[in-house]
């Protein structure tokens, strides 16, 4: 059977996905489910979306041939520069799409969850663009750790609500956003930041991010003579940038798809976010996927040096691609990600986000031929991680 990157009508990718929602969310999810495809496939939506991606986000993002990095690894390496997007990461591809959708659904109030603040900033940005009320739930621990992004969101007009429940990080922020949605079902649209949550979110967010691999095809054709690379490397938290980078190649088995999870201190330790490497199927945030959990089914708090990979679950699409052997996933530890970031800065003059540094660390794990074409999805820029870089590079 063909492996596809599209969910079935119930939101399943094989055994993963679904919509495990309490009845309080039924109307919202049902409205989205019945209307999202018609809306996002309409000409009116496409025109506005593509125009904003071009003139507001700055797409297409360049595909850059990284000469010195290529020389170092003895192969041909291209970087898909999502770090050059407005707000500094791929997150805005999704928020632009969802904000247009929310307007079409007549929603006046937008909520979002955020971990490091990248998705929060991308959401606050498009809410400012459309003049919509914006509330961002952020774990109290993250509010403290990511003060700069909190300031940015507030400057953009969003209200940032520190979440004090649980471990006060991304998972808890997501719980609180879902509770808000239960309490405000009619006025509000919930812009989920990754390919997680109940159907149709994983499928919808994947479609919005798929512009990444769509552009890659024509850019590779122009630069290498072929649309198809040999490898695509991307980092995986919830997995939205990887889903976008893989999307148009999933059915083409000649292209090897490789994901990097946040290994933290090591997938074998308690301090990890490697849910594909070490998780078991479970249900969190209304979707069935691989999940870090105890034998009793309690969700384990994840850890990664990168706040964007610090999620105990993963998008159901990746659990499926893993189960079917269509994509391979590696656990990349903090130290290897830091090393890869440093190398990138020294060889190419690009400061990657810590998340993207996990994808770069994959380069060292692979055995490439000299004529292979390798695309690394550089999902975001590293400004937000400056403090970590300064501290950790100094320690060396």
């Amino acid at each position: 059977m063909n492996v596809k990157a599209v969910a079935d009508k119930n939101g399943y990718y094989g055994e993963f996905g679904g919509a495990y929602i309490p009845e309080m969310l039924y109307n919202n999810i049902s409205e989205l489910k019945s209307r999202y495809l018609d809306i996002i496939n309409s000409k009116e939506f496409r025109d506005e979306y593509m125009q904003l991606l071009k003139d507001y986000v700055g797409r297409p993002s360049p595909l850059y041939y990284a000469g010195r990095l290529s020389h170092h690894f003895g192969t041909r390496i291209f970087l898909k520069r999502e770090d050059l997007n407005h707000t500094g990461s791929h997150k805005i591809n999704n928020t632009v799409g969802q904000i247009i959708l929310a307007s079409k659904l007549g929603k006046k109030r937008i909520i979002a969850e955020t971990g490091a603040g990248q998705h929060g900033v991308a959401t606050a940005t498009v809410c400012a663009l459309k003049g919509l009320e914006c509330i961002v739930y952020m774990g109290a621990t993250d509010v403290e750790r990511q003060a700069r992004n909190v300031t940015l969101m507030e400057m953009l007009g969003a209200k940032v609500v520190p979440v004090e429940s649980g471990n006060k990080t991304l998972k808890d922020a997501t719980n609180e956003a879902l509770r808000d949605w239960i309490s405000n079902p009619e006025s509000t649209h919930y812009i989920i930041g990754s390919i997680v949550g109940p159907h149709p979110f994983p499928d919808m967010v994947t479609r919005f991010q798929s512009v990444i691999s769509l552009e890659m095809k024509s850019q590779l054709k122009e630069k290498t003579g072929s649309e198809d690379p040999d490898y695509i490397l991307a980092c995986i938290g919830g997995g939205s940038n990887a889903a976008g980078a893989f999307y148009h190649y999933v059915e083409n088995e000649n292209v090897k798809l490789i994901g990097a999870e946040g290994g933290g201190m090591g997938a074998e330790t308690d301090l990890t976010s490697a849910s594909i490497t070490t998780g078991r199927p479970g249900v969190l945030h209304a979707c069935k996927s691989l999940l870090l959990q105890t034998t009793d089914g309690q969700v384990i708090e994840p850890y990664s040096i990168s706040a964007g990979l610090d999620y105990p679950g993963v998008g159901p699409l990746h659990s499926y691609l893993h189960a079917r052997g269509r994509a391979r996933y590696y656990s990349i530890n903090d130290d290897d990600a830091l090393k890869a970031a440093k190398q990138m800065i020294e060889l190419e003059g690009i400061i990657p986000a810590l998340e993207s540094a996990h994808a770069l660390a994959l380069l060292d794990k692979m055995d490439f031929n000299s004529n292979d074409v390798v695309v690394v999805n550089l999902s975001g820029r590293g400004d937000k991680d400056l403090e970590t870089y300064i501290k950790r590079f100094d320690d060396e």
């Binding site: 119930n10 679904g18 919509a19 495990y20 929602i21 309490p22 009845e23 309080m24 039924y26 109307n27 049902s30 429940s165 649980g166 998972k171 719980n175 879902l178 509770r179 239960i182 309490s183 405000n184 079902p185 009619e186 078991r280 199927p281 479970g282 249900v283 969190l284 945030h285 209304a286 999940l291 959990q293 034998t295 009793d296 089914g297 309690q298 969700v299």
Partner: protein
């Protein structure tokens, strides 16, 4: 006959169901609370299975859930506790909790243990009809009633769909909120009549029912109500022990108003 069905056959008004979280305030409080409820004039009890991420719950139940987990509570322990007291309990019992702990325990094993320990029904708020379908046969095999929630926003069409799966009673959520909020009920008498007429089942109202007044309001339009957060809060404040505290709470709720 299933004890829940029997209860509704015998009684159609003023039914009081109490919800508490297993393993709270202490790991072994479960049995004591159950015995206290047995002695009280409450009609039914819902035992919450603690979960790390209770998205449909407000602060009180969230906190009780985290504390219960810290106390080392698990489904295995809960069934052990139920096994100890099952012969002393005659009132209908339901387990209520999120799907993941049940899924990890194993749905069939869960249902088997429920039936062995005198559990009559189950409420899993994040297993809606579409996903429940895959497991329906197992719940039915063990004669467990699977209770569904409806909300003030539930359409007639959806209600018909839910009615195709529902048994025992309908759990009507009173407002657009998580559990334990103080907001007023958005359910109108005609909503409840409609739920009852379409489903052919009695209706209990939950979420936001917290005292004598809100209980009487709920009873005036339905068969009764479920009290969770307010009951859990009352357990926190039990200087003379859990038994006395439960008895006091239930008497206050039951007190005839003027």
């Amino acid at each position: 006959m299933n004890k829940i069905i029997k209860l509704f056959n015998q009684k159609s008004r003023n039914i009081l169901s109490l919800f508490f979280t297993a393993g709270y305030p202490e790991a072994d409080s479960t049995t004591e609370i159950l015995e206290a409820i047995e002695e009280s004039s409450a009609d039914m009890v819902e035992i919450g299975i603690p979960f790390s991420d209770p998205v449909a719950d407000g602060k009180v139940i969230q906190d009780s859930s985290s504390k219960a987990l810290l106390n080392g509570m698990s489904l295995e322990k809960l069934f052990e506790q139920l096994n100890v007291v099952k012969d002393r309990l005659s009132k209908p019992k339901l387990l209520m909790g999120y799907f993941n702990p049940v899924m990890q325990f194993g749905v069939e094993k869960f249902c088997k243990r429920c039936s062995e320990t005198g559990v009559d029904g189950v409420i899993v708020p994040d297993l809606p009809p579409g996903e429940y379908l895959a497991y329906r046969g197992i719940f039915e095999k063990y004669d467990l009633l699977f209770i569904f929630l409806v909300t003030p926003g539930t359409s007639k069409e959806r209600l018909k769909e839910i009615s195709g799966y529902a048994s025992g009673f309908i759990y009507a959520v009173s407002s657009y909120s998580t559990t334990g909020t103080s907001g007023s009920s958005a359910l109108k008498p005609e909503d409840v009549s409609e739920i009852s007429a379409i489903s052919g089942l009695p209706v209990l109202i939950g979420f936001g029912v917290k005292d004598n007044e809100t209980f009487r309001q709920a009873c005036s339009i339905s068969s009764g109500a479920i009290i969770g957060s307010a009951f859990i809060r009352s357990l926190d404040n039990s200087p003379h022990g859990i038994r006395q505290s439960v008895s006091l709470f239930v008497n206050n709720i039951r007190e005839e108003g003027d």
